[in-house]
Amino acid sequence: MITELDMGKAESELELGLGLSLGGGTAAKIVKPGGGGAWGERGRLLTAKDFPSVGSKRPADSASHAGASPPRSSQVVGWPPIGSHRMNSLVNNQATKSAREEEEEEEDVKKKAKDDETKDVVTKKVNGKVQIGFIKVNMDGVAIGRKVDLNAHSSYENLAQTLEDMFFRASPGTIGLTGQFTKPLRLLDGSSEFVLTYEDKEGDWMLVGDVPWRMFITSVKRLRVMKTSEATGLATRHQDPKERQRNKPV
């Protein structure tokens, strides 16, 4: 019967900390694994210190530390443990709620005199709304689809970077999912072999980048990294629906 385990040896080996597993997507920060397999470079095991609001009601301003924020419980992959169907439903609820509330707030702001405080309130509230949602990303020619947490990104650049890391590995000379050595791409500016597209709520496939980021994340259903050659005729937001019908990709 073991009452005390010999932890001495184990501890010295574990000293450098453990890689933070981030499932099929990304979250706040990921430190890319360098050579040599040292644990420290892969991030840390989440501990209580990472959740500063523990033990007290979650303070409103913890949400506004954008870049340097510790991972909130909703940004950790797979936490809280809610199935994806339910998660997506929550996203929809949040989206329609925030859309409605934003409309109301914008009206309020217009009514009042230009007041810095009011503006701050609006911004703060917007930052405080956390939407939970992973969406699937597929790439032409790659069998394995991935999932990406839109909420963990703040802009198209951000998202494109993550996707490039995911499918191509930005560091030169590494073999990514495609199994080839590749140079970093620019998915957003049309200068590479691939473009980033998405399917919206109506089922249409569109080029990513035309609409404001926040509008994008409420309407996107899934992403696809498509070969530029196949992407001709894709709808952009500004086309009228009739044209869109004609141009639907086969």
Binding site: G23, G24, G55, V77, G145
Partner: protein
């Protein structure tokens, strides 16, 4: 169980009387013996026909597994009479062996991916393919009538194969599956003439449109249950109306969100015999006449016991549901974004309710109403609405669960999401309800201590496992030390499934569990600070379990190799989405999935899953690769 023991006693005494030399099979029940001819079985043993008749009363597969271990003739008789086959891990045994063992198989249930796949912890492409099973059954068991799959990858080819191969096919139930499109569903609908059940529960389907519904032939009248609630696109109303009109046996209908409220009345009129109804969206604007018609249609559902769907339920439509409430035994409000006062209005009329799923919008006050009014309640699930993130005031605390545990004497299954908790509450709950079989508490703030005392929740969970002697399933959360797991190891003797996240201090935690929980079958752990030592010390335990999942823990690659070498009847899978170029023994692994198997190594692992069989030079000499 009592009736089975009686059977055993009877049979045993009879066999002793006849002076048979019986021998016990020490191996797992999946070891297959050469079949014995009927004449041998008849000779000096209980006649096959009599045994067969007795076994026909043994329903539970667990009992049947025990029966099959008694002696050869019991094994033979049992296997020839088993109709419903359940395989909890599709990689634990080969499809061919299962097909051969059970010639009378009529129903097959399979589970694929580990449970944590539901929370995106298992990368896409890991496995769980239905195809090999469907292919094997199509070739050998063409009389198969029912296929139930959970967390498996099902392609359109699979569905087409089912439609083409099983002429009496009656029932397809897919839960949390993916990989198929509505084309595959159309194939099932159009070809399976005797189809009774078609249920897609929370599947990820490539939705190519609502045409699939029109593929049910005009002659098909056999439908008993239809669930397409997870699909997105609209089905044609006329198709659906006609289908309902010609399906007098339809008992369960679950619509998807795209079915709007204005058409619901017309559908219900054609299916007044429904026992289970999942509505579509409940938020369109109806004029008073439409509302009155809908109210009447719902009141005509005299057999209705279960209600779900109710997406975006508007408070003004709650009175429409009044008529069905008194009969309801199951109510799923977890997609209904109504507030507490409206929920109270509804729930106070549901005196027969046994199962309630709701969001935290119900608040403590709403749960108090449930405690007062729903005395038959057996299962409660409270899901987060995200409202707390909105900073709107949703007061759902531990008190809500305490009230329900006080008021609902029959409560035995709970899933409760809450921001924080206290030991005192857990102790009360345990005292009130020692009859819990399933207790899943998710304190959403990782590492959250008892918010009143700042202590870990060890004592609270201790009370739960001490008092609830019949506990089969437990999920723990909040701040927990190794002590909590010591308590669980000591007391939770009937526990079969345990889920842990962000807990514990050291390897002792895992050691307590693996050495203490006798009935443990499934253990899933994430983000806990232990690994190698306890795992290797308790390796033998792993063969008595279905599976162990560990992610973001301190397990090293070397330990995985060691475990693989030591335990040939386990498959040890290392799942690393970003494997480093070199893999020293001390390097940590992202995820490890270990399960017992008699099927040997998987042959369909993707590149990001490592097993010892992939790198033979690492040292695999005793393992025979089949």
């Amino acid at each position: 169980m009592a009736s089975v023991s009686l059977l055993f006693v009877t049979l045993l005494s009879v066999t002793l009387y006849i002076n048979i030399k019986s021998f016990i099979l020490w191996d797992q029940s999946q070891t297959f013996l050469p079949s014995l001819s009927d004449s041998v079985l008849m000779d000096r043993r209980f006649p096959f026909k009599v045994l067969e008749h007795i076994f026909s009363f043994v329903d539970s597969n667990e009992d049947r597994n025990s029966v099959s271990l008694v002696c050869k003739s019991w094994f033979e008789t049992e296997r020839r009479t088993r109709k419903r086959v359940f395989v909890g891990n599709c990689y634990a045994v080969s499809p061919l062996k299962v097909a051969r063992r059970f010639p009378k198989m009529r129903s097959l249930t399979l589970k694929g991916k580990p449970h944590f796949a539901d929370y995106n912890l298992v990368p896409d492409g890991w496995g769980g393919y239905a195809w090999p099973w469907i292919e094997a059954m199509a070739a050998r068991r063409p009389l198969l009538e029912e296929i139930r799959l959970k967390r498996m990858v099902v392609t359109d080819e699979c569905l087409e194969k089912i439609a083409a191969s099983f002429r009496d096919f009656k029932s397809l139930v897919l839960t949390s599956c993916e990989g198929f499109s509505t084309d595959g569903i159309a194939a099932i609908a159009s070809t399976c003439r005797k189809l009774r059940n078609l249920e897609l529960r929370e599947c990820i389907v490539d939705d190519l449109g609502g045409d699939w519904l029109s593929y049910f032939p005009e002659t098909s009248t056999s439908l008993v249950s239809l669930d397409f609630s997870c699909l997105d696109s609209e089905v044609k109303l006329s198709d659906l109306e006609r289908l309902l009109s010609r399906s007098p046996n339809l008992k369960s209908l679950k619509l998807n969100r795209s079915v709007t409220l204005d058409v619901l009345e017309s559908l219900l009129r054609r299916a007044p015999q429904l026992v289970e109804l999942g509505t579509g969206s409940f938020s369109d604007e109806l004029d008073p006449e439409e509302i009155s018609k809908l109210t009447k249609a719902l009141s005509e559902l005299k057999q209705l016991k279960s209600l779900s769907g109710l997406w975006d339920l508007l408070p003004e439509y709650i009175p429409v549901l009044y008529s069905v409430c008194p009969r309801l035994t199951s109510l799923n409000l977890s997609y209904a974004t109504v507030q507490m006062p409206d929920l109270i209005d509804l729930l106070s009329r549901c005196s027969k309710l046994q199962k309630l799923w709701v969001m935290d919008l119900i608040e403590d006050k709403g749960l108090k109403t449930v405690a007062l009014c729903c005395k038959e309640l057996r299962e409660l699930r409270v899901f987060p609405s995200g409202a707390d993130l909105d900073e709107t005031d949703v007061t759902l605390t531990e008190q809500g669960l305490v009230s329900v545990s006080e008021g609902c004497q029959k409560l035995e299954s709970v899933l409760y999401f809450c921001v924080q908790f206290t030991n005192a509450a857990l102790v009360s709950i345990a005292k009130n309800r020692p009859n819990f079989r399933c207790f899943r508490l998710c304190v959403m703030e990782p590492f959250a201590p008892d918010y009143r005392t700042q202590q870990p929740l060890d004592e609270g969970f201790k009370a739960i496992v001490e008092r609830c002697k019949d506990l089969r399933r437990l999920s723990v959360s909040g701040l927990l030390t190794d002590k909590a797991f010591e308590y669980i190891g000591v007391h939770a003797k009937k526990l079969r499934m345990l889920s842990i996240a962000f807990a514990g201090d050291s390897d002792l935690m895992l050691h307590h569990l693996l050495s203490g929980c006798e009935s443990l079958k499934k253990l899933e752990i994430r983000d806990c600070p232990f690994g190698d030592t306890a795992l290797l010390e308790n390796a033998a335990k792993l063969e008595t379990m279905r599976s162990l999942w560990m992610s973001s823990c301190f397990v090293s690659f070397g330990a995985c190799k060691q475990l693989s070498q030591k335990m040939p009847r386990l498959n040890v899978e290392v799942i690393d989405e970003h494997p480093p170029k070199t893999r020293p023994d001390s390097s940590p692994v992202e995820r490890i999935y270990i399960y017992r198997t008699v099927a040997g190594p998987r042959l369909d692992t993707p590149e990001f899953v490592w097993t010892i069989h992939k790198k033979p030079e690492v040292g695999v000499s005793r393992l025979a690769i089949r």
